[in-house]
Amino acid sequence: MTQTDTAAEVRTSANGEAFEAETVVKSNEEVNGEYRLLILDAPQRILNCRPGQFFHLLCPVTTAHQPYLRRPMSIYGFYPERGELHFLYKVTGEGTRALAELRPGDTLNVLGPLGHGYTIQDDWQNLLLVARGVGLATLAPLAQEARRLGRKLTAICSARSPEVLMSVDLFREMGAEVITVTDAEGTSGMEDIRATIEARIAAGEVDALYTCGSNRMLKLLQDIGAKHGIPGEIALEQQMACGLGMCQCCVRSFRRDNRIVHERVCREGPVFDMQEAMGW
């Protein structure tokens, strides 16, 4: 537990600096069906990001959509060299529908980078991630970081059908091995994924597990991790108001040292130790 405690210590200290900044929309295209890729022209000072961090977006107000609070979005890509910030988002409600109306040249006020991202410890040579839907947005920058650090990455990408699989090329470009599983092909069930992962563990090819979001996947990876003694991290979500740690609305429960503690997803997270995270 020492590792996690230290991490928690680092997490609760100030994260450096976050900025409220105006960006300009470069493009905002549909990726497939309900997903969109938003590319922003962003100032350098906000592009010093870590994989797993997020921004808090001030969605535009229109006659049709009038969101009030900001909306949290994981960083899908950050490219200081070309001054770009990317988000991959699913059009869900008032805020994301307003986002979908953004046109090139429009401005967007963003706050970030926020929160604590994924860590890759020195002795984690073989990384394995499982992602589906917008979870890909959160996990994609991890592939980039893995390549930078020269680690081997396996990405299990899940989707409803092969046609709506996203980001596969992006992971391959980053040198990751990609395993696609889909509902349509009947390969995305929990037990199928367990089998795939345990086969790799047996081959000594997994030092750390990464995922985000769903309860079922958390349970599966917790179980696998505990059984085989493999550490892991998960990015969690929660309703957010401030995104900075001030309002305490975004808490979730964690098991630590046999106690249940509350931590703020925006501040201590959004990435947490896989075994400490509690299902919901």
Partner: protein
């Protein structure tokens, strides 16, 4: 040069802009210069440790938000050891907000928190989440008077009483607080509200109900600030729905001596900094030397047919 100084009883603030309790913490130092603010106001604490309410703790309503955070608290010892020292780095008065579920506990924390580094105590007698069905001390003049009297006996620091918009007796509650020795009034806290998700049919807040804050609240709390300024002689600190300098000016004209900015900081973490700059620019442009040019200057004598007509003929 414009003098933005605001005097709240014995306390002098470099400007009339401060955060509202529960919408501010050390974390904001990541984004703004904390030294720019008129005061630092901390989230309400209780003596004992508390967990806060079930999630979801916030939801959005048209143009505003509801919250039912409750008062998660690490307790007074943690606060004295960790939080007060953080704020002592800054050249800004520290206002500590406290609460309790009965008058005795309230007096106890009031006494215990009266330590060096604390410049005033804000008394949250109005939080609609603690007591059942929103019936807090601040709902009635009698309960307000009782608890404020006991608190007055417990500390020599300035006491700011934070009122509630859930009462039907705003002026009477304000007078009760003044009479019992409050040094200032903060007007006001959030208003008890509700929202339901029509798909799941569940209340959007884990706590069923919560407090409305943000722009929707402004016309209500502005009315209360006006009523209080008429009803008492101690300073009134306006709070509710402020998001721009014009809102601050409106509260000052209504009679407030300073203001607190809450939810706006969630939307724009730099809101208070922008507001201070814009307030100064407005006063300079209008030749106002200090806040006395604004505070309480509402022209409420002539309630005449005062509609503004456009320029149409010579």
């Amino acid at each position: 040069m414009v003098d933005l100084t605001a005097k709240i009883g014995a306390l002098t603030l470099k400007n009339p802009i401060m955060p509202a309790s529960g919408t501010f913490s050390e974390d904001l130092a990541d984004v703004i210069d904390m030294n720019a603010l008129g005061a630092h106001v901390t989230k309400t604490i209780t003596r004992e440790k508390r967990g806060g309410n079930p999630t979801p703790r916030v939801c959005e309503v048209r143009g505003s938000m509801l919250n039912s955070i409750g008062i998660p608290s690490k307790g007074i010892d943690y606060f004295i050891q960790n939080v007060i020292p953080f704020y002592q780095k800054y050249d800004v008065p520290l206002i500590v907000s406290i609460s309790a579920n009965n008058a005795d506990d309230f007096a106890r924390i009031c006494e215990e928190i009266s330590v060096p580094g604390v410049d005033a105590i804000e008394v949250n007698i109005s939080c609609p989440n603690i007591e059942e069905d929103g019936k807090a001390f601040a709902m009635r003049p009698s309960t307000t008077h009782q608890v404020m009297t006991q608190l007055r006996g417990a500390s020599d620091l300035p006491l700011w009483a934070k009122l509630s918009p859930n009462t039907g007796e705003t002026s009477e509650v304000a007078q009760a607080a003044e009479d019992a020795g409050a040094d200032a009034l903060v007007v006001a806290n959030t208003l008890l509200s509700m929202a339901i998700d029509i798909h799941s049919r569940k209340p959007k807040l884990g706590n069923l109900m919560g407090g409305l804050s943000g722009p929707s609240l402004k016309p209500i709390t502005l009315r209360m600030a006006y009523q209080c300024a008429k009803a008492v002689d101690i300073p009134v600190i306006g709070c509710g729905g402020i998001s721009k300098a014009e809102d601050v000016i409106e509260y000052l004209i209504a009679g407030a001596s300073a203001v607190q900015v809450g939810t706006a900081t969630f939307i724009n973490p730099t809101a208070m900094i922008t507001i201070i700059a814009e307030l100064e620019a407005y006063m300079a442009a209008n030749g106002m030397a200090d806040l006395s040019a604004l505070v309480g200057s509402v022209r409420d004598d002539d309630a005449a047919d005062a509609v503004v007509f456009m320029e149409t003929a010579p």
